[in-house]
Symmetry: D2
Subunit: 319 residues, 4 copies
């Protein structure tokens, strides 16, 4: 179905109507594999990461102010059902306060029973597929195992050390919290970038600030059921720019309710499955927006549990 | 016991015999709380982190080469008993390959049943205590809860963006793998630093390369039961230097078997409980040693699960 | 402390004032170990179970009507904090509906991340202690291990096949739901037994019906914070009778708020620690009460996870 | 495929060649749904359980000797991959030996991270399907949910109180341990029953003793990879008899390697999916065989975790 001529035609028309060049990204939408990095590639847009870009990102650091983009997670953090997370603190071998050795060592240890996709997270390329077919056209039956993915495990993603760009959509729209259902497409992205005086370049990590994260405690139900976010055209636009990852201060990056005529998590499909572009969710962007920090060094080293679909993260912005 | 005059006297003598100035760090050993950052402090040596040091660290980046210091973790990764880790891959709501919506979205999700202290890890200040008393003199009964620490939770630790220093002890000792039981004390630390032409400064993260991590697959039993590592004098020396964290390519940083006259995990006690100095374990230092990368920008943003004792990590070195 | 003369005196006086003979059970309260079954005994009142009693219980079966005394458990079942339970259904190796072999075998499997003490449960003798000392005077440090009890593991408890007795306290008190804080002591137990025309004998399992379980869905907060139940004198009385186990249709058997002058879960201490008498919680007694089934064959075979403190259960009553 | 005429013909021929009447059970094999208990039925052969049969079973009790048919489970118990089980013992709110209240209550609690299908277990009707279609023709997509089955949850199975029959196949074959790959079909079942002087009746639970369980510690690899057990013809034979459940002292009941021409776990398909007949695994039958206890009262009350596929169990035999 995804390769039908009719659909290709429709997308070509869409591309034309958007006034976009017939970019490789667009051509890929109907016939999306092999990926532009070859049929064996497992890291997608992380191929854009280069030492040159890392070195250039380091040059963006002026004051050394550091931003922790990860949010705190608790058992009550809203998450896409049936996700949840529990932590247990234990004191192995120290029952009733017993200690170890002459210097009376005590210790606490901890156990997580946790869905990985909770709080601030990096979606790997094995997260979302199209009719059970994932990035680079690999079918679920060929890489999904009950105890870990045999391809696209999160451990494969190299550290992201590159230029980060914040698009303050709340500021652009003149609100504290962008309304649910507000889609960020070409016009909004270009508008916000122009207003801020930043451009989006190949190899960037782009983060949207919407203010939505401020609802996580105040109205967790609203927070977790809808959101403003990236639209389908906007996703194609950013893919065309060659970004490594797109993130937001929302639980799922893409706009919800979904745009008219756009499928269930189709923006995820476009980014992850079709283009190998990573997604960053629940990013704590407010301090960046507050400081008008629109450009910064972005550093993410995610946990490397082998075969994991995704990772709980805490990326660092420095400027 | 820890505050007895006799012990204070002994430590003062030890300090003198080591040729060290009677630093605050030393004075603290017998009467170790309140901490030098006050009785309420919860982050210890992370207080050494400053924007200036972050900016200076960014200036160390020349080529932009990036090193992922975290190791891959699997269910077979050796860990301090009874620690272990299991991952499950699931496809919620997609039984028998069912998909979501018109664009036929499929997705994988994952669940971790995992001790947090596995693979590459950051030990928080609530990890190790002395007779149930932890950093800043806080008793276990006053901050340990079964579902999360009420103080010293790992989410409190700010991102570590600072200068990293590698001490290649294997290279210094002319071996591929430093033998278990080999203690790194003042002489070895200064010797290696001198050979490499680096100095250790306040605010640094210091990593030892020993080659020990190469045994993790080849001889997991040997790997996990003993190790070369930091000695007691060496720990006091580094504390005296004002480092933020000390790490190694071993499972527990400190030398095992423990040095003669040194208690069970007493080096952990000195670093974490007495001085608030963080510990980084199972650091993948081999590529740094290979490149003679003795000085680099170190960036660590750990997951912020609230109340966790520690975190699985993947710090990034950039130079 | 537990052995002080003053306390012994107090208990002796209590015994006298209750008009009870100075039974072994009472004498044990101040000096409660070794147990009446010897210092090495690990099964307590399960020693009362005999083939004769099992055979006699089978003779109570007349119509063959079977009662399932276990309740259904879900993630929402109220439980003593921080207890909870999660179940995951998975289809290992069958991604996207793939099947096994020529006859196309599909299968579901399931994973529990669950505190054991949830729903209908059997408390083992390692559950409750007195100042870290448990049944038969064994200190926590001598049998508690992080991955399983080295004594009193639930696997040690033999199947309970014996006479069951229901005391319908709601019926006795003429209410649908007995009010929280209502203590069942000698007078109430004897009163209800007399009204029903049953006697309590050595080797019995005694279950109280209070109607409280009907609140589990209707008012889970009230359900889980207080309850009617066994009082201290009542516990001593039943111990004196030589019962194997005492249960109720409440989450914790004993009356809450605790009786005046009675300690936190002191009834648990009396039953489990001091006398090796088992506790059965969240028993679905309503169908028995409805049928006026006051005497029946009671059969319980609990899961034998080695070293577990307790077990989720579903005892069977037959009459 | 399952309903093809060719297959029906083949099965009819098989039925004839076995000398069996064309029972409903057989007729169902090709066109196996709706079940004989109607299209809405969720409990299958548990419909054979009646008060009369429970009462008759109680009459089998003569001496009152009780047998615990469940085995002990530990983290090392071999299980069908990737199954496994971990238990953690914790002391909530009692850090460093702190106690609760004036009577100094201490307590241990426990957490299971455990696949349910481990050790002695009851397979529910949602466990095994045919091309994603389960008992009564229900498709996986219509009842399988990630957090619990919406049909066939193990909580639906009523307590099994009925006549139990042991077939001592090791005794019949004159060996201690029946060899892997040995199939129990009509001839072997009838032969063993005749030798023992017992008959198999509607409503029975039939258990095979093979001695295989003695390998669980001695040779866990052999234990878990193959087994003697029920053959396809034998399964159809027992279904024809109207048994409630079939069990064995093996991990998977059915013979492995599978019989020639028999599919992967096809005996499971015949019993569970096609006929709603329950399976009991890892039954500790040796003490029954030792006592020549061929007929007994069988009582099983399994944990009622809602929506679970199966249950860890400890059935009780009494005679």
């Amino acid at each position: 179905m995804m390769r039908s001529n009719r659909r290709l035609a429709a997308l070509t028309t869409l591309g034309a109507s958007l006034g976009l060049a017939a970019s490789l990204a667009f051509a890929q939408q109907a016939n999306w594999h092999p990926s532009k990095w070859g049929a064996k590639d497992e890291i997608g847009a992380a191929n854009y990461l280069t030492p040159e870009r890392a070195a250039a990102a380091a040059k963006l650091v002026k004051t050394g102010k550091v931003y922790s983009l990860g949010i705190e997670v608790t058992p009550d953090t809203p998450a896409f059902p049936p996700r949840g997370c529990k932590l247990y603190i234990v004191q192995p071998g120290q029952h009733a306060g017993a200690t170890l050795g002459e210097t009376k060592t005590s210790y606490n240890d901890d156990i997580l029973n946790c869905w990985v996709g909770i709080g601030s997270q990096l979606d790997g390329l094995g997260h979302i597929g199209i009719d059970n077919v994932y990035y680079n056209g690999v079918h679920a039956k060929d890489f999904v195992d009950s105890t870990g993915l045999k391809k696209y495990g999160i451990e494969k993603v190299p550290p992201m050390v590159t230029r980060g760009v914040l698009l303050d959509m709340a500021g652009y729209l003149g609100v504290d919290v962008v309304k649910e259902g507000t889609a960020f497409n070409k016009a909004e992205i270009e508008g916000a970038a122009r207003k801020q005086g930043v451009e989006i370049r190949e190899g960037d990590v782009v983060l949207f600030h919407t203010g939505w994260l401020s609802l996580i405690d105040k109205d967790p139900k609203r927070y977790g059921s809808v959101e403003p976010g990236l639209g389908k055209e906007g996703a194609l636009y950013l893919v065309g720019k060659g970004v490594v990852a797109v993130g937001a201060d929302t639980w799922g990056l893409e706009v919800l309710p979904f745009e008219k005529g756009v499928g269930v998590f189709e923006v995820h499909q476009i980014l992850l499955a079709k283009n190998g572009t990573y997604i960053l969710e629940n990013m704590n962007t407010a301090p960046l927006a507050q400081d008008k920090a629109y450009e910064f060094m972005f550093v993410l080293g995610q946990n490397k549990y082998k075969g994991a679909v995704q990772s709980m993260i805490n990326p660092v912005a420095i400027r």
